[in-house]
């Protein structure tokens, strides 16, 4: 029995504020001018991508109390820039990463519903939960949440947002000049929510938007994060797993959790971030990749990347020498502030890296390039298309959020060379067949599952 070919979901990710984005390349453009966002989004739409995606960080990172100066920094407000992109695109979904800790549901639900109206149903929200005290220093709320409370808040936040989005029915605005009735009912928008995190009530101001509920993504892969994604209502999870060996078990785990919550198969899409390097031949691509990785990770950059795990000042260690012989200091005061922590077990990570360095003869910088400069898809356009397709067809994921080392033109060659090959294979649409982000992703309108099971 062969099952039908899965359609690859593609998101485009414009370079963020990390080492992956190479600013030293003469072709590197502005990371903040609107023209850069417009170019990347229009390129993605030319390639019939499902959506455009922006990450978020709410404090400039610091190292030993000083602002990071070697990486690209300086980003816009996500929702604002995505709303503007609605003016220069017509089908592309617009997904904003927005933190659930440093925002309030009434305001954010209102913003997301507004984007959905102003884009004709193309809004999405990637819920992130980072909640450190360092970032809290920029907010009147101040403070931060304990790790174990982050998903409690995120889950309740989403429940409140859904209640607000449901506070207007699709037919509440009559605007009937004949009868003089603007509203169908006097209490449109009325809501009340009382929970552990939020106790709010009143009338929501935004009439029901084209999608009803924007598409919801979630980034975070701890057990709580997976459970939230599978059961709490997100439509997709942004995953950090790039090799089939790691990605398949994660994919299965999400599907199993999702099934346990009574959701139909395929309800929670799994989307890893992915980067690519193309070449005319495989050797050419590998060489290009090597150059890019070295541009991404200078000697100084390598020390800093390892500091994120060691949590020690490593500036005294020669980048071309061996790995630092000291042990990491996971409980000491943070050397690097304001970065989402993905490597959780520092001691374990360092011992794996030591083994890797020993068996390959890697210097400090070579190890950093190997670990952090890794690009998943390196090859000729045909090879890259083959591998992307195989990854999805073998249930490593449902698609990818594609980024490039070059802002804003990095995606151009992917759209010119790889997209047509994926289309030829029948794994990617040749044109949009709907107008909303839900249409693009094939996600049905949101229905309240708690009421379904209760019925």
């Amino acid at each position: 029995m062969t099952r039908p070919r899965k359609q690859i979901i593609l998101g485009a990710y414009l370079g963020g504020v990390n080492h992956q984005t190479v600013w030293s390349d003469p072709a590197a453009g502005s990371q903040i001018e609107f023209a850069s966002f417009q170019h990347a989004a229009q390129t993605a739409e030319r390639g019939k991508f499902d959506f455009f995606f922006l990450a978020e960080g709410l404090a400039l990172r610091e190292r030993l109390g000083q602002i990071f100066d070697q990486d690209v920094i300086g980003r816009p407000d996500n929702i604002t820039v995505l709303t503007a992109l609605a003016a220069v695109t017509s089908h592309l979904g617009l997904i904003a990463t927005v933190n659930a800790t440093f925002n309030e549901p009434y305001e954010l639900a209102r913003q997301l519903a507004t984007v959905d109206h102003l884009s004709g149903g193309r809004a999405g929200w990637n819920i992130v939960t980072s909640s450190d005290a360092f970032t809290g220093g920029n907010f009147r709320r101040g403070g931060f949440l304990k790790r174990e409370d982050r998903y409690t808040r995120a889950e309740e936040f989403l429940a409140v947002a859904r209640r607000l989005w449901d506070s207007w029915s699709a037919d509440d605005v009559l605007a009937d000049t004949g009868s003089g009735q603007f509203l169908r009912r006097p209490d449109a928008g009325e809501f009340a929510f009382s929970g552990k995190q939020f106790d709010i009530s009143g009338r929501f101001t935004v009439p029901r938007s084209p999608q009803g509920h924007p598409v919801i993504l979630q980034a975070g892969v701890s057990a709580e994060g997976r459970e939230f994604a599978a059961g709490g209502g997100p439509d997709a999870i942004f995953s950090p797993f790039h090799t089939l060996a790691e990605a398949q078990p994660f994919y299965r785990d999400i599907q199993e959790r999702s099934a346990r919550h009574g959701r139909p198969a395929g309800s929670t899409k799994v989307l890893p971030g992915a980067a690519f390097v193309l070449g005319d031949s495989e050797a050419d691509a590998v060489e290009r990749h090597r150059e890019i990785a070295l541009a991404q990770i200078s000697g100084r950059g390598a020390q800093i990347l390892l500091e994120t795990v060691w949590n020690r000042d490593l500036s005294g260690y020669d980048p071309d020498g061996p790995l630092p012989d000291v042990d990491p200091d996971p409980t000491g005061p943070l050397v690097i502030q304001g970065r989402a922590r993905i490597h959780q077990d520092a001691l374990d990570t360092v011992s794996k890296w030591r083994a890797l360095a020993a068996s390959n003869g890697f210097s400090l910088r070579q190890l950093a390039v190997h670990v952090f400069g890794h690009t998943e898809f390196v090859g000729t356009p045909t090879q890259v298309a083959d591998r992307l397709d195989a990854f999805v067809q073998n249930d490593g994921s449902d698609g990818f959020i594609i980024g490039s080392h070059l802002t804003p033109t990095g995606l151009d060659e992917f759209v010119d060379k790889v997209v047509p090959l994926l289309q030829e294979r029948g794994s990617l649409r040749t044109d949009y067949d709907g107008t909303t982000l839900r249409d693009n992703l094939g996600i049905p309108a949101y229905t309240d599952r708690s009421s379904l099971t209760a019925a």
Binding site: S24, F34, Q38, G57, L58, A59, L60, Q66, I67, D69, Q70, I73, G74, P76, D77, I79, T80, V81, T83, A84, A86, A87, V88, F102, N103, E104, Y106, E107, Q111, A113, T114, H117, L118, G137, N138, F139, R140, R141, G142, V173, A175, T177, G180, Q181, F182, L183, R184, R185, P186, D187, A188, G189, I200, S201, G202, R203, T205, V206, P207, G301
Partner: protein, 399 residues
């Protein structure tokens, strides 16, 4: 005499609560991008200085202090700052100023939102700061205790006066934080210096370390200094407390004189509060235009009748010819007003009347320009682009 500035205030179907029922209105389009895009294009066709876009977290109500249950008026609105973002890319010269509330929102978010709007519009962004906190707003957020019960009777009690004064003090702190964050990246902080492997010169990035009674904010912003350096800050003000806020923190204040004597008195008070600071003063006017005085009045009266009440407004209401409106504006300008902000009674009708009829009249009288003189809103308003307040600090650190 100084250049006359003409702005329009956009809100829903217009400033009359029955505006949506006019045959000239577009009541089915109020929540669409096309509606707002068209309004902005019309205002730009008239070479107007800027539009403001009104906003409030609470739903519209005929009752000033609580939600009502009327179904015959427009209810519902989109987030104004995002409407601004959506319409900015399609325009080229006109300033765009959304309203933003200061009571329940984060100054850090507002600062980057408006900075981003400034990037999107390449230097045409502003913000109209609104002090919130009345009516049911606190319950929408559930973060702060509800304010004292408000009504016209309790407005003058010491408790309510203290509450309002505190909210305005908080707003002053809020704008201070927003402005410091705009300055927290000096111009030229981004250096992309390959020789030293540095993307930014971190000596040009500054913590703002604001500590006040209501909040503390560290900074710097995550968004680089916006194209205008400081987007234009505006405030609508009806009495001494808000005049003081405008004088301390705003570039433009909208006031609501109802007659010539009042206009002179308000201007004098605002100028005194400003104590020589460069604050531009605009008079707000609600306008219904017609070919003759009678037809303009009839338009307004018809809407009053539909609504079941005579239009009540904080601002003066003018129903008449473009000629009469031009006379009135000229008079205000002679008194020393820098400009007017017109609130069209019905959209797009009264906006189109402003661009088609009023603007040519003002121009004939030598009061209004025939082209956009600058590419940024600050330039438009004759305001310099200020250097970052932190610039001297980094220059002086060697000493």
């Amino acid at each position: 005499m100084t250049q006359l500035h003409v702005a329009v205030a956009l809100d829903g179907a217009g400033w009359h609560p029955a505006a949506w029922r006019s045959p000239a209105a577009r009541p089915h389009d109020l929540f669409t991008a096309a509606y707002w895009t068209d309004l902005l294009a019309e205002a730009q066709r008239g070479l107007l200085d800027f539009v403001t876009i009104d906003d409030s977290f609470t739903i519209q109500s005929a009752d000033h202090f609580a939600a009502d249950s009327r179904t015959d008026q427009v209810r519902g609105r989109l987030d104004a700052a995002l409407i601004a973002a959506r319409i900015a890319p399609g325009s080229a010269h006109i300033g765009i100023i959304p309203a933003v509330s200061t009571t329940h929102t984060e100054p850090f978010h507002t600062s980057k939102n408006i900075a981003t709007l400034d990037y999107i519009s390449t230097g045409r962004a502003g913000v109209q700061v609104r002090v919130g906190g009345l009516g049911g707003e606190a319950a929408l957020f559930g973060r702060r205790p509800s304010p004292p019960a408000l009504s016209f009777e309790t407005l003058a009690t010491p408790e309510v006066e203290r509450f309002i004064a505190e909210r305005f003090d908080e707003a002053a702190d809020y704008i201070e934080v927003v402005r410091r964050l705009w300055d927290s990246w000096e111009d030229g902080a981004e250096i992309r210096d390959r020789a030293t492997d540095r993307f930014v010169d971190r000596d040009k990035l500054h913590r703002i370390d604001f500590e006040g009674r209501w909040f503390s904010v560290r900074g710097p912003s995550i968004t680089p200094r916006p194209p205008q350096g400081q987007p234009v800050v505006t405030v609508l003000a009806h009495s001494t407390v808000p005049y003081r806020l405008a004088a301390r923190q705003a570039d433009v204040v909208f006031v609501t004189p109802h007659d010539p004597a009042g206009a002179a008195a308000i201007l004098a008070e605002v100028r005194q509060e400003a104590a020589g600071a460069a604050l531009q003063v605009y008079a707000d006017l609600v306008v219904f235009l017609g070919a003759d005085a009678a037809s303009a009045s009839a338009r307004k009266e018809h809407l009053d009748e539909l609504d079941g009440a005579e239009l009540f407004s904080d601002a003066r209401i003018l129903a008449g010819t473009a000629e009469a409106l031009a006379d009135h504006i000229e008079e205000l300008h002679q008194l020393g007003y820098d400009g007017v902000r017109l609130r069209p009674g019905v959209l797009p009708y009264d906006l189109t009347a402003v661009t088609d009829q009023l603007v040519p009249l003002l121009r004939r009288r030598g009061l209004f320009r025939d082209r956009y003189p600058a590419t940024t809103l600050r330039g438009q308003l004759g305001l310099d682009r200020p250097t970052s307040r932190y610039q001297s600090i980094s220059v002086g650190t060697d000493a």
